[in-house]
Structures are given as structure tokens and as C-alpha cells.
């Protein structure tokens, strides 16, 4: 039996393997999130001796690391296959990377589920997990590197065949994102392989805590952009097609991605502003570099609004904002990512507040921060990923997005919006009132301040419950699109660039220049402080593995 798909069946199978892992992760991670909010509301006790920090670790690892990485790598393979093609050899290496990542994921997951890794997804030392937690994570990273180099090879082969041509926009974006990922994961790989694994195996007695946290956040901030850039790929190069328009500017899109590559890595210290042992001058420098990311973010906002306005006006809508009526609000492929984009306005604003030195002291380690990243990755990114799924999954499985599923998708987006507004909103407010993040339910000895947080914690449970309904809906939609939707051909929407756009200058593809500047900025921002951290750190810490259960 032949099925109609946009990619060839071998590439489709590869991408779908990634999608299956992503959606299983969504369900498990979402369930853990629901349980957390119920525990924190003070109304629910976990059964069977399951610990709060155990489910918190599962939630963070499986959603922030597993779901995102598998979805992104799968989605990016689909874009590369579509734009520059994939040879049999490249596909084999992609599968090899997939199986290594999956093996690593299962290893880490089993360790957490056995209660041997209650260290949360940031796995801060001196909390110690059983070694297989770190070994599994290292395998996930190594598997993803195979994906990186497969993508690099795909574009290299295409460029050799098409000398003098600029690379396809989406392939360019994928390679930027994988460059960012590779450079960033060198930090987390270094701390896991050189520090955590020997320490957890008992080969060394102590760990340099500050160095491990610095290497983690060298990775941890660009991780956020690794999540965001695939959403931006959809915004820049797919949404215009869905709304019946064109890409505002190919050059602007490429420039924004280059700026993200340069300015999302040498900025990890803004996560460590309250950390002793780092010279304030270098914190200041990295905060300034952090703020540079506002430029490509606002370039993206401008580009998207311009695409919407030009398209709306071409359809005959007039007035200052009349063109908004010309957008296909009833098409879930547009509606879900659009809601994600709207959420990025408060999400990005919160990020600027977090990275500002004084304001960081107001919100640091409070549940405001949790509210913040549930807006960025938990809404902007995930709603865009859902929006992508509505056309990607059926186009890979040779099925159609039906009007019924379209309507259900719109309902799902609204449910998500309501749930997240309640949950993240109450997290933001409680954070400003001083409520801590990460911690389980406590009355803190009956202090008056803690009593102010309770109503917000109940609101978080209400929002979390609504969000879990959203997850059930999305998992149902996924299952339907994979196995039950009617057979047919679903469009793989790739937009063309507007005829009004200027030609793209070739220097935007000067990889040596952009990688060189990126490395120079990283060396500038990290060399002296890291030497300082290694030379002047206090004595290392022995492991603590029984603190939180």
C-alpha cells in the first residue's frame, strides 16, 4: 500500500520516530506537572512513597530536555529533507543519533523513577544523583551531536552541488540552531563528563560547585534559544505561507538568526547574578551581552507584524489595524503559533526583568522565574510546536488535517491559554510576594508571609489542571493524526520571499566570520572569570544525596 507523503517514506519514518518520543514525553511530563501543582496547593499527598522532588525532576528533564530536543531534531530533519535533501548515509547517521539519544533518555528516566536522582533538571552540585543519571544525559547530548553533524553535512553536500547559490532559508536556520546547540552543549558535556560522572562514581571526593554551575549556565541559556529558534523558523518561513503571504525579508531573517547565535551563548552569568565568587564586572558585561538579544527579538516582531500587515492589506483590509481581520484566525496552523507569539511579549519582557541585576534580586529563586519559563518554553515554544504538528504529522503520515481536528486544535489552544494565564500569572504574582520556586508544599512554620502565597498556589493547581486537559486533548489529536485521520496529502507549507525584499547579500552566509565572532565573544566573556573560578574557588564539596527525597 502506498501512502501520500510530502517527504519520502524513509525520511518521514525518521521524523515520526522523534515525534513519538516527543508526544509520549509530553503526556508523562504534563502528568508530573499536574501532580506538582496539586501537592503545592496543600491538598494532595503523593501515594506509594513517591517524592515531590522525584516528580519535579521527571517533569523538568522530560519536558525541558527530552520533549524539546526530540521534537526539534525531528522537525529540523523534516526541514532539511524538504529543502536540501537527505542521502541514505545521512539518514543512517540520523537514526544512529536517535537511538543513542533514546537509550540515554531511558537510562536517565529509569534512574529518576527509581528515586536515585532527585536533583531537578538543573542537577546543581552538591546534590548527587546515581551515575547513570549523568551518563544517560551525556548520551542524549552525544546523540544530538550526531544530529548536528548530519545537518551540517546535508547543507555542505547541497552547497557543493549548488555552487554560488545561497542556501535555502530554512536549511540556513537549522544549521545556525545546530551550531548554537553544539557550541552550547560543550559546556554541559564538560561538566557532566569531567566533573559529575567521576564525582558520582566516587573517583574523586569533591566537586567545584561554582565551576559546575557556570558550565551548566553556559549551556542553560542558549538552551532557551535552541528551543525558540525552531519556533522562529516556523514564524519566519512557514506562517507566511499559511496566511497566504510571503516572507517579509530573507536577509532580515538570516541576520536575526546570526545575532541569536552570537548573543545567546556568552550570557550565562545573568542566571548567576546572586552567585558569590564571580567578579561583578563580568556579570555586568554578560548582562550587557544578554540585552543584545533584544535586537533580533524586536527584528522578529517587526518582521512578523510586517508580514501580517502586508498580507492583510493585499486581501483588501484597510485602516491602522484592519489587516488583523485578514488573518486566518480559524486555521489552527496559524492560530496556535499566533497565540504563542502574543505570549512572547510578556515572556520576553519577563526575561529582560530577570536579567537586570537589581530586578533579579527581587525575583531570583522565586516562583516568578517558573512562571517566566512556562510562558517562554511552556507557551510560546510549545504552542508553536503544536501549530507545526497540525500540518507536519499528517503530511508525514499521509493523512489530512480534518476540520473537526482543526476545531479541536483551536479549543486546545484556548484551553492552554486559559490554563497558562491562570497558572503562570499566579506564579508571577506569588514570586513578587517572595514565594520560592522548586520547593514542595510548606507553611514555613506558619509565617504570615507564607500564608499570602497559599491562594496563588491553589490558583496554580487550577491552572495546572486546565493545562493537563489541554495535554490530553493534544495527545488525542496526535494519536488521531497518526492513525485515524483520513488518508490524503497535507501541505508542507514553505513560504516564498516577497518580491519587494532586497536580494540577500552573500556575506550573510560567511560561516567562518559568524562562527569566529561567536567564539571570540565566548572567549571574551568567559576566559578570565573561569580562570578566576578555577584558581580561587573555595574547597570542593563532597556529594549530598539524601537531602531531598
Amino acid at each position: 500500500m502506498t501512502t501520500n507523503t510530502n517527504l519520502n517514506k524513509f525520511d518521514s519514518k525518521l521524523v515520526m520516530a522523534h515525534m513519538h518520543v516527543a508526544f509520549v514525553s509530553l503526556f508523562i511530563g504534563g502528568l508530573m506537572g499536574l501532580l506538582q501543582t496539586l501537592v503545592r496547593a496543600g491538598t494532595f499527598t503523593l501515594p506509594f512513597g513517591i517524592g515531590y522532588y522525584q516528580i519535579l525532576t521527571v517533569h523538568g528533564v522530560i519536558l525541558a530536555l527530552v520533549l524539546t530536543t526530540f521534537f526539534i531534531i525531528g522537525f529540523q530533519f523534516s526541514l532539511m529533507s524538504k529543502t536540501v535533501g537527505m542521502t541514505d548515509k545521512q539518514r543512517d547517521s540520523a537514526w544512529f543519533g536517535f537511538w543513542i539519544m533514546l537509550f540515554g533518555t531511558v537510562t536517565t528516566a529509569v534512574t529518576i523513577l527509581l528515586g536515585q536522582a532527585n536533583v531537578l533538571y538543573t542537577f546543581y552540585a552538591p546534590l548527587k544523583a546515581f551515575p547513570t543519571f549523568y551518563i544517560g544525559l551525556a548520551l542524549v547530548v552525544i546523540g544530538s551531536w550526531i544530529g548536528c553533524f548530519t545537518n551540517f553535512r546535508q547543507l555542505y553536500v547541497w552547497k557543493k552541488k549548488n555552487k554560488g547559490e545561497k542556501s535555502p532559508l530554512l536549511a540556513f536556520m537549522v544549521v545556525i540552531n545546530m551550531l548554537l546547540w553544539f557550541i552550547a552543549t560543550l559546556g554541559v558535556a564538560a561538566t557532566v563528563i569531567l566533573q559529575f560522572i567521576p564525582w558520582s562514581l566516587g573517583m574523586v571526593d569533591t566537586i567545584n560547585v561554582l565551576l559546575s554551575r557556570t558550565l551548566f549556565w553556559y549551556f542553560g541559556h542558549p538552551l532557551v534559544y535552541f528551543w525558540l529558534l525552531p519556533a522562529y523558523m516556523a514564524w519566519y518561513a512557514i506562517i507566511p505561507k499559511i496566511i497566504g503571504g510571503k516572507i517579509f525579508s530573507d536577509s532580515l531573517a538570516r541576520l536575526a538568526f546570526i545575532l541569536f547565535l552570537m548573543f545567546s551563548i556568552p550570557v550565562g552569568f545573568h542566571h548567576q547574578l546572586t552567585e558569590p565568587g564571580i567578579d561583578p564586572l563580568w556579570k555586568f558585561i554578560q548582562v550587557v551581552l544578554t540585552f543584545m538579544v533584544i535586537i533580533p527579538s524586536l527584528l522578529t516582531a517587526f518582521s512578523m507584524f510586517a508580514t501580517f500587515e502586508i498580507t492583510g492589506r493585499k486581501k483588501g483590509y484597510t485602516g491602522l489595524f484592519g489587516w488583523l481581520k485578514g488573518l486566518p484566525w480559524k486555521d489552527v496552523r496559524f492560530f496556535a503559533p499566533m497565540v504563542g507569539m502574543i505570549f512572547f511579549i510578556p515572556a520576553g519582557t519577563g526575561g529582560i526583568i530577570n536579567a537586570s541585576n537589581q530586578m533579579n534580586q527581587v525575583v531570583h529563586n522565586t516562583i516568578w522565574v517558573t512562571g517566566h519559563f512556562h510562558l517562554t518554553v511552556g507557551t510560546t515554544v510549545i504552542l508553536t510546536f503544536f501549530g507545526i504538528s497540525y500540518w507536519l504529522i499528517p503530511s508525514l503520515t499521509g493523512r489530512k488535517l480534518t476540520s473537526k481536528i482543526n476545531t479541536l486544535g483551536i479549543i486546545q489552544t484556548i484551553v492552554w491559554t486559559v490554563g497558562m494565564t491562570i497558572m503562570s500569572g499566579s506564579m508571577h504574582i506569588a514570586g513578587l510576594l517572595g514565594a520560592p520556586r522548586r520547593s514542595s508544599y510548606s507553611t514555613y512554620g506558619g509565617t504570615e508571609q507564607a500564608s499570602e502565597w497559599i491562594s496563588y498556589q491553589i490558583a496554580q493547581a487550577v491552572g495546572g489542571s486546565i493545562l493537563f486537559i489541554g495535554i490530553i486533548l493534544m495527545v488525542y489529536i496526535f494519536i488521531y493524526m497518526v492513525w485515524a485521520a483520513p488518508k490524503g496529502v497535507e501541505e508542507f507549507p514553505l513560504a516564498k520571499v516577497s518580491e519587494n525584499a532586497e536580494p540577500t547579500p552573500m556575506f550573510l552566509e560567511n560561516w567562518k566570520l559568524w562562527i569566529g565572532i561567536t567564539i571570540a565573544l565566548i572567549l571574551f566573556a568567559y576566559t578570565i572569570p573561569v580562570i578566576d573560578i578555577i584558581q580561587h574557588s573555595p574547597p570542593g564539596s563532597p556529594p549530598f544525596d539524601i537531602i531531598i527525597k
Binding site: 524538504k82 535555502p168 524586536l298 500587515e309 502586508i310 492589506r313 519582557t349 529582560i352 513578587l432
Partner: protein, 50 residues
């Protein structure tokens, strides 16, 4: 090799004479900028007050 890129043949023509009207875009982006600045100062005021 699988599917060939449809983005290739674009962008060869010179820019059109008439600029598109982007008043709404300008105001929308400025509004986002204003939202960021106002939110920043609200939390800054909280910091100062504490």
C-alpha cells in the same frame, strides 16, 4: 536525494518601486517596546520600595 527546495527561485527581482504601508506594524512594535519599558519600571519600583 529527496525533495528539492522550493525556496530557491525567489528573490531575483529588483525591489518594487512602491513601499508597502506599514503604519500598523510601526505602532505595534513601538507598543511592545513601551510595554517592556513600563513593566521594567514597575518591577524596578518594587526593588526600590523594598
Amino acid at each position: 536525494m529527496s525533495n528539492i527546495n522550493p525556496l530557491q527561485k525567489e528573490n531575483k527581482q529588483p525591489a518594487s518601486e512602491s513601499e508597502p504601508e506599514l503604519k500598523g506594524t510601526l505602532i505595534a512594535v513601538f507598543s511592545i517596546g513601551a510595554f517592556i519599558v513600563v513593566s521594567w519600571f514597575i518591577v524596578f519600583a518594587l526593588f526600590v520600595a523594598r
